[in-house]
Protein backbone atom coordinates (compact mmCIF):
# COMPACT_ATOMS: atom_id res chain seq x y z
CA UNK A 1 0.00 0.00 0.00
CA UNK A 2 1.49 3.32 -1.02
CA UNK A 3 0.22 6.73 -0.02
CA UNK A 4 1.35 10.26 0.59
CA UNK A 5 2.16 10.46 4.28
CA UNK A 6 0.24 12.96 6.39
CA UNK A 7 2.03 15.63 8.40
CA UNK A 8 2.10 15.52 12.20
CA UNK A 9 -0.41 18.37 12.16
CA UNK A 10 -2.75 16.34 9.94
CA UNK A 11 -2.50 13.35 12.28
CA UNK A 12 -3.02 15.47 15.39
CA UNK A 13 -6.02 17.31 13.96
CA UNK A 14 -7.80 14.26 12.56
CA UNK A 15 -7.31 12.21 15.72
CA UNK A 16 -8.25 15.12 17.99
CA UNK A 17 -11.36 15.87 15.94
CA UNK A 18 -12.61 12.31 15.49
CA UNK A 19 -11.84 10.97 18.97
CA UNK A 20 -13.18 13.95 20.89
CA UNK A 21 -16.47 14.54 19.10
CA UNK A 22 -18.19 11.30 20.01
CA UNK A 23 -18.82 9.13 23.03
CA UNK A 24 -16.70 6.01 23.27
CA UNK A 25 -13.78 4.57 21.36
CA UNK A 26 -15.64 2.27 19.01
CA UNK A 27 -17.45 5.14 17.33
CA UNK A 28 -14.19 7.08 17.16
CA UNK A 29 -12.50 4.21 15.32
CA UNK A 30 -15.19 4.31 12.67
CA UNK A 31 -14.86 8.07 12.26
CA UNK A 32 -11.08 7.71 11.91
CA UNK A 33 -11.51 4.92 9.37
CA UNK A 34 -13.70 7.20 7.26
CA UNK A 35 -11.50 10.28 7.64
CA UNK A 36 -8.23 8.53 6.91
CA UNK A 37 -9.70 6.22 4.29
CA UNK A 38 -11.08 9.19 2.34
CA UNK A 39 -7.56 10.61 2.18
CA UNK A 40 -5.97 7.32 1.15
CA UNK A 41 -4.03 7.03 4.40
CA UNK A 42 -5.69 3.87 5.70
CA UNK A 43 -7.26 0.86 4.03
CA UNK A 44 -10.20 -1.08 5.46
CA UNK A 45 -7.87 -4.03 5.95
CA UNK A 46 -5.38 -1.91 7.89
CA UNK A 47 -8.22 -0.53 9.97
CA UNK A 48 -9.44 -4.06 10.71
CA UNK A 49 -5.98 -5.10 11.80
CA UNK A 50 -5.62 -2.13 14.14
CA UNK A 51 -9.08 -2.72 15.63
CA UNK A 52 -8.16 -6.36 16.29
CA UNK A 53 -4.77 -5.50 17.81
CA UNK A 54 -6.27 -2.75 19.96
CA UNK A 55 -8.68 -5.29 21.45
CA UNK A 56 -5.80 -7.49 22.64
CA UNK A 57 -3.69 -4.58 23.89
CA UNK A 58 -4.11 -3.73 27.58
CA UNK A 59 -5.91 -0.54 28.49
CA UNK A 60 -8.26 1.70 26.54
CA UNK A 61 -8.85 0.32 23.06
CA UNK A 62 -9.13 3.64 21.23
CA UNK A 63 -5.80 4.81 22.62
CA UNK A 64 -4.09 1.62 21.44
CA UNK A 65 -5.78 2.05 18.07
CA UNK A 66 -4.53 5.64 17.80
CA UNK A 67 -0.99 4.62 18.74
CA UNK A 68 -1.03 1.87 16.10
CA UNK A 69 -2.41 4.34 13.58
CA UNK A 70 0.17 6.99 14.39
CA UNK A 71 2.96 4.41 14.29
CA UNK A 72 1.77 3.23 10.89
CA UNK A 73 1.61 6.77 9.51
CA UNK A 74 4.74 8.32 11.02
CA UNK A 75 6.67 6.00 13.33
CA UNK A 76 7.37 6.98 16.95
CA UNK A 77 6.59 10.62 16.47
CA UNK A 78 3.26 9.82 14.83
CA UNK A 79 2.38 7.40 17.63
CA UNK A 80 3.05 10.00 20.33
CA UNK A 81 1.26 12.79 18.47
CA UNK A 82 -1.74 10.54 17.92
CA UNK A 83 -1.79 9.39 21.56
CA UNK A 84 -1.61 12.95 22.84
CA UNK A 85 -4.34 14.17 20.49
CA UNK A 86 -6.61 11.31 21.54
CA UNK A 87 -6.10 11.59 25.28
CA UNK A 88 -5.14 15.12 26.37
CA UNK A 89 -8.28 17.14 25.44
CA UNK A 90 -10.71 14.70 27.03
CA UNK A 91 -8.49 14.32 30.09
CA UNK A 92 -8.24 18.09 30.57
CA UNK A 93 -12.02 18.46 30.28
CA UNK A 94 -12.61 15.63 32.73
CA UNK A 95 -10.11 17.04 35.21
CA UNK A 96 -11.76 20.48 34.97
CA UNK A 97 -15.22 19.01 35.53
CA UNK A 98 -13.91 17.03 38.49
CA UNK A 99 -12.31 20.15 39.91
CA UNK A 100 -15.58 22.04 39.78
CA UNK A 101 -17.52 19.01 41.02
CA UNK A 102 -20.21 19.89 38.49
CA UNK A 103 -22.97 17.30 38.44
CA UNK A 104 -23.18 17.31 34.66
CA UNK A 105 -25.44 14.32 34.58
CA UNK A 106 -28.20 16.32 36.30
CA UNK A 107 -28.60 19.02 33.65
CA UNK A 108 -31.47 18.25 31.23
CA UNK A 109 -29.69 19.72 28.24
CA UNK A 110 -26.63 17.59 28.94
CA UNK A 111 -28.82 14.51 29.32
CA UNK A 112 -30.52 15.23 26.00
CA UNK A 113 -27.21 15.73 24.23
CA UNK A 114 -25.85 12.50 25.72
CA UNK A 115 -28.97 10.61 24.61
CA UNK A 116 -28.57 11.77 21.02
CA UNK A 117 -24.81 11.20 21.07
CA UNK A 118 -25.37 7.65 22.32
CA UNK A 119 -27.67 6.95 19.40
CA UNK A 120 -25.17 8.29 16.91
CA UNK A 121 -22.35 6.33 18.57
CA UNK A 122 -24.44 3.16 18.37
CA UNK A 123 -24.91 3.59 14.63
CA UNK A 124 -21.22 4.27 14.13
CA UNK A 125 -20.27 1.12 16.02
CA UNK A 126 -22.71 -0.85 13.88
CA UNK A 127 -20.96 0.55 10.81
CA UNK A 128 -17.55 -0.47 12.18
CA UNK A 129 -18.77 -3.98 12.95
CA UNK A 130 -20.12 -4.40 9.44
CA UNK A 131 -16.92 -3.08 7.85
CA UNK A 132 -14.86 -5.58 9.86
CA UNK A 133 -17.07 -8.52 8.95
CA UNK A 134 -17.87 -7.69 5.35
CA UNK A 135 -14.75 -9.31 3.78
CA UNK A 136 -15.39 -12.51 5.73
CA UNK A 137 -19.06 -13.17 5.00
CA UNK A 138 -18.66 -13.97 1.30
CA UNK A 139 -17.76 -17.16 -0.54
CA UNK A 140 -15.73 -19.90 1.17
CA UNK A 141 -15.17 -17.75 4.26
CA UNK A 142 -18.83 -17.55 5.19
CA UNK A 143 -18.97 -20.93 6.94
CA UNK A 144 -15.83 -20.28 9.00
CA UNK A 145 -17.11 -16.80 9.88
CA UNK A 146 -20.43 -18.28 10.96
CA UNK A 147 -18.73 -20.82 13.21
CA UNK A 148 -16.50 -18.17 14.83
CA UNK A 149 -19.50 -15.83 15.24
CA UNK A 150 -21.54 -18.57 16.93
CA UNK A 151 -18.66 -19.34 19.30
CA UNK A 152 -18.24 -15.64 20.13
CA UNK A 153 -21.94 -15.12 20.81
CA UNK A 154 -22.09 -18.26 22.94
CA UNK A 155 -19.08 -17.29 25.02
CA UNK A 156 -20.41 -13.74 25.43
CA UNK A 157 -23.71 -15.08 26.75
CA UNK A 158 -21.75 -17.27 29.17
CA UNK A 159 -20.06 -14.13 30.54
CA UNK A 160 -16.58 -14.90 29.23
CA UNK A 161 -14.39 -11.77 29.07
CA UNK A 162 -13.63 -10.31 25.61
CA UNK A 163 -9.88 -10.95 25.84
CA UNK A 164 -10.50 -14.66 26.44
CA UNK A 165 -13.01 -14.73 23.61
CA UNK A 166 -10.43 -13.22 21.26
CA UNK A 167 -7.81 -15.77 22.37
CA UNK A 168 -10.27 -18.60 21.72
CA UNK A 169 -11.02 -17.08 18.32
CA UNK A 170 -7.30 -16.98 17.48
CA UNK A 171 -6.95 -20.67 18.40
CA UNK A 172 -10.04 -21.57 16.38
CA UNK A 173 -8.60 -19.61 13.46
CA UNK A 174 -5.36 -21.61 13.60
CA UNK A 175 -7.21 -24.93 13.94
CA UNK A 176 -9.60 -24.16 11.09
CA UNK A 177 -6.83 -22.81 8.86
CA UNK A 178 -6.98 -23.88 5.26
CA UNK A 179 -4.75 -22.86 2.29
CA UNK A 180 -7.75 -21.01 0.81
CA UNK A 181 -7.88 -18.48 3.67
CA UNK A 182 -7.90 -14.97 2.13
CA UNK A 183 -4.95 -12.73 2.74
CA UNK A 184 -5.06 -10.05 5.37
CA UNK A 185 -3.67 -7.05 3.54
CA UNK A 186 -0.29 -6.20 5.00
CA UNK A 187 0.16 -2.71 6.26
CA UNK A 188 3.31 -1.57 4.53
CA UNK A 189 5.49 1.23 5.73
Amino acid sequence: MRFDRPSFRDIAWLVLYDVNRTLGGLASMELLRRSLGARGWLTDEGHGLFVAISRVTPGTNILAYCVALGWHLASWQGALVSLAAASVPASMLIALISATLARVDQHPIVQAVIAIALMVATLLVLSTAWNLLRPYVKGPNAARTGIIAAIVVGLTLMGVTPIRILLVAAIVGVVMHSPDVPRVAEVER
Binding site: G25, A52, T57, T60, A68, W71, H72, I94, T156, V187
Partner: protein
Protein backbone atom coordinates in the same frame (compact mmCIF):
# COMPACT_ATOMS: atom_id res chain seq x y z
CA UNK B 1 -0.63 8.35 49.29
CA UNK B 2 2.36 9.39 47.22
CA UNK B 3 1.94 10.33 43.58
CA UNK B 4 4.25 7.48 42.52
CA UNK B 5 2.17 4.96 44.48
CA UNK B 6 -1.02 6.38 42.93
CA UNK B 7 0.48 6.04 39.45
CA UNK B 8 1.54 2.44 40.09
CA UNK B 9 -1.87 1.45 41.44
CA UNK B 10 -3.71 3.07 38.52
CA UNK B 11 -1.24 1.53 36.08
CA UNK B 12 -1.88 -1.89 37.60
CA UNK B 13 -5.57 -1.40 36.91
CA UNK B 14 -5.20 -0.13 33.35
CA UNK B 15 -2.55 -2.64 32.24
CA UNK B 16 -4.63 -5.59 33.45
CA UNK B 17 -7.79 -4.49 31.68
CA UNK B 18 -8.67 -4.74 28.02
CA UNK B 19 -11.31 -2.06 27.71
CA UNK B 20 -11.80 1.48 29.00
CA UNK B 21 -14.06 0.57 31.90
CA UNK B 22 -12.33 -2.75 32.52
CA UNK B 23 -10.06 -1.10 35.07
CA UNK B 24 -12.97 -0.16 37.33
CA UNK B 25 -13.06 -3.26 39.60
CA UNK B 26 -9.31 -3.13 40.27
CA UNK B 27 -9.41 0.63 40.94
CA UNK B 28 -12.25 0.16 43.38
CA UNK B 29 -10.38 -2.66 45.12
CA UNK B 30 -7.15 -0.68 45.48
CA UNK B 31 -8.27 2.92 45.97
CA UNK B 32 -11.58 2.47 47.78
CA UNK B 33 -11.36 -0.82 49.67
CA UNK B 34 -7.66 -1.32 50.41
CA UNK B 35 -6.25 2.19 50.73
CA UNK B 36 -9.37 4.32 51.29
CA UNK B 37 -8.00 7.13 49.12
CA UNK B 38 -11.39 7.82 47.51
CA UNK B 39 -14.95 6.84 48.37
CA UNK B 40 -17.42 4.76 46.38
CA UNK B 41 -19.40 7.92 45.72
CA UNK B 42 -16.36 9.68 44.26
CA UNK B 43 -15.64 6.64 42.12
CA UNK B 44 -19.22 6.63 40.84
CA UNK B 45 -19.01 10.34 40.13
CA UNK B 46 -15.75 9.79 38.23
CA UNK B 47 -17.47 7.17 36.07
CA UNK B 48 -20.38 9.52 35.32
CA UNK B 49 -18.01 12.38 34.48
CA UNK B 50 -15.99 10.10 32.20
CA UNK B 51 -19.13 8.84 30.53
CA UNK B 52 -20.55 12.33 30.04
CA UNK B 53 -17.47 13.81 28.39
CA UNK B 54 -16.55 13.10 24.78
CA UNK B 55 -13.47 11.02 24.10
CA UNK B 56 -12.13 7.74 25.46
CA UNK B 57 -14.36 6.06 28.02
CA UNK B 58 -11.25 5.02 29.96
CA UNK B 59 -10.49 8.68 30.67
CA UNK B 60 -12.64 8.42 33.79
CA UNK B 61 -9.42 7.41 35.59
CA UNK B 62 -8.28 11.05 35.26
CA UNK B 63 -11.23 12.03 37.42
CA UNK B 64 -10.28 9.26 39.86
CA UNK B 65 -6.77 10.64 39.93
CA UNK B 66 -8.05 14.14 40.62
CA UNK B 67 -10.20 12.99 43.53
CA UNK B 68 -7.28 10.96 44.91
CA UNK B 69 -4.51 13.51 44.51
CA UNK B 70 -5.67 16.81 43.05
CA UNK B 71 -4.05 18.07 39.86
CA UNK B 72 -0.86 16.00 40.29
CA UNK B 73 -3.14 12.98 40.74
CA UNK B 74 -4.97 13.82 37.52
CA UNK B 75 -1.65 14.03 35.64
CA UNK B 76 -0.35 10.67 36.88
CA UNK B 77 -3.76 9.14 36.18
CA UNK B 78 -3.46 10.37 32.58
CA UNK B 79 0.00 8.77 32.43
CA UNK B 80 -1.41 5.51 33.81
CA UNK B 81 -4.15 5.60 31.17
CA UNK B 82 -1.84 6.15 28.19
CA UNK B 83 1.10 3.94 29.19
CA UNK B 84 -0.48 0.57 28.24
CA UNK B 85 -1.43 1.90 24.79
CA UNK B 86 2.26 2.02 23.85
CA UNK B 87 2.37 -1.78 24.09
CA UNK B 88 0.56 -1.89 20.77
CA UNK B 89 3.78 -0.93 18.97
CA UNK B 90 5.70 -4.15 19.70
CA UNK B 91 2.49 -6.08 18.93
CA UNK B 92 2.16 -4.44 15.53
CA UNK B 93 5.88 -4.94 14.85
CA UNK B 94 5.67 -8.63 15.78
CA UNK B 95 2.61 -9.16 13.64
CA UNK B 96 4.23 -7.53 10.62
CA UNK B 97 7.14 -9.92 10.95
CA UNK B 98 4.93 -13.02 11.16
CA UNK B 99 1.91 -12.04 9.06
CA UNK B 100 3.21 -13.96 6.02
CA UNK B 101 2.88 -17.23 7.97
CA UNK B 102 -0.50 -18.69 6.95
CA UNK B 103 -1.51 -19.89 10.42
CA UNK B 104 -0.66 -16.49 11.93
CA UNK B 105 -2.70 -14.85 9.21
CA UNK B 106 -5.57 -17.24 9.96
CA UNK B 107 -5.39 -16.41 13.66
CA UNK B 108 -5.42 -12.66 12.92
CA UNK B 109 -8.39 -13.12 10.55
CA UNK B 110 -10.25 -14.98 13.26
CA UNK B 111 -9.52 -12.25 15.81
CA UNK B 112 -10.79 -9.61 13.36
CA UNK B 113 -13.98 -11.63 12.86
CA UNK B 114 -14.40 -12.08 16.60
CA UNK B 115 -13.84 -8.33 17.12
CA UNK B 116 -16.59 -7.59 14.62
CA UNK B 117 -19.01 -9.94 16.36
CA UNK B 118 -18.10 -8.50 19.78
CA UNK B 119 -18.82 -5.05 18.36
CA UNK B 120 -22.25 -6.26 17.30
CA UNK B 121 -22.94 -7.44 20.85
CA UNK B 122 -21.78 -4.01 22.05
CA UNK B 123 -24.28 -2.42 19.66
CA UNK B 124 -27.10 -4.26 21.43
CA UNK B 125 -25.97 -2.93 24.82
CA UNK B 126 -25.38 0.58 23.47
CA UNK B 127 -28.79 0.63 21.80
CA UNK B 128 -30.43 -0.34 25.08
CA UNK B 129 -28.43 2.37 26.89
CA UNK B 130 -29.39 4.96 24.26
CA UNK B 131 -33.06 3.93 24.48
CA UNK B 132 -32.99 4.18 28.29
CA UNK B 133 -31.39 7.61 28.11
CA UNK B 134 -33.90 8.80 25.49
CA UNK B 135 -36.91 7.65 27.48
CA UNK B 136 -35.46 9.24 30.62
CA UNK B 137 -35.00 12.59 28.88
CA UNK B 138 -37.98 12.75 26.57
CA UNK B 139 -40.42 10.66 28.59
Amino acid sequence: MSIIALYLLLLKATVTSFAGMGSLPQIRQDLVVTHGVITDEQLSQAVVIGRSAPGPVGAYVVSVGYFAGGWPGAVVAWLAMVTPALLVIPLVTLLRRWLHVPRVRAAVDAVVIASGVLLLTSVVRMAMDAFDQLTRVFG
